[in-house]
Amino acid sequence: MPDPKQWLHNYGDYLYSIAVLKTNDKETAEDLVQETFLSAIKALPGFKGESNEKTWLTAILNNKIIDYYRKKDVLKNADSYLIETDQSFYGSFFEPDNSSSGHWTKTANPEPWNMSTDEALTRNDFYKMLDYCIGKMPAKLAPVFIAKYIDEDDSEKICKDFDISSSNYWVIIHRTKILMRKCLETNWFKK
């Protein structure tokens, strides 16, 4: 049987770190963690132990974060945002389609990395660099990247949660992958 008295000790900092990553705001993150535990206590009679405690609490937190995104209109008007920033974003990574067949610009051209990738995955500061790079992404784009790659949600759920079309979903994934690759290249793999 889960013991709510142990939750803070066992999962407090973990849930808090997820909430900070997703909201970029420590005070909000604190509130969300507290609300998560209190909601979980109320929902405890329905908890059948089908998933483990950690997964269950993380799911409750994630639902609260989706509500928070909605309240803050984080993903509202994704459509016009993507149209407005299309030229400035893609223009900094690719030559125009009509010239030199839309090749990468000189500054954005992917380069071979000189640091071992296998080694990176064993190092805790590599994951702090991921935090940093996610933090540098535009606030409208980062939540979709996190949902897909960190929460491993499927595209259907993400489109529903964030109320975005499938084509906008792919544009956001495309942009965030370009940004993440570039950020890790500059700050980690070529340093």
Binding site: G12, H103, W104, I150
Partner: protein, 102 residues
């Protein structure tokens, strides 16, 4: 010179291939989508042609796959080593609220 003709033919073929294939922007998008679902034969062919002559895009695909693989470990790493810690005051407040709610 027959060699010259061959070179010309190769250049001509390459420029034709470039014309019917993707730009780097399109190619990287389709390559990312391919990780999740199958696409039309024609798009696959165009992608294949693009990747055959575009080393930076090959590198992009390889490196973004490495990143996807790395990010999957993130939650486990974070559980073992949280990047942020709740302050002592916040912990006290939350623990009291939990104790009062049980």
């Amino acid at each position: 010179m027959p060699g010259n003709k061959l070179v010309q033919k190769i250049i001509w073929t390459m420029s034709l291939l470039k014309k019917i294939s993707f730009s780097c922007k399109e190619a990287t998008l389709i390559a990312i989508q391919r990780e999740e679902y199958n696409t039309t034969f024609f798009k696959k062919l165009k992608l294949f042609i693009h990747m055959a002559y575009c080393a930076p895009c090959r590198l992009f695909v390889k490196q973004t796959k490495i990143i996807s693989r790395a990010v999957i470990n993130y939650q486990d790493v974070l559980f073992a080593n949280p990047h942020h810690k709740l302050s002592a005051e916040a912990k006290e407040t939350i623990q009291n609220k939990i104790n009062n709610t049980i």
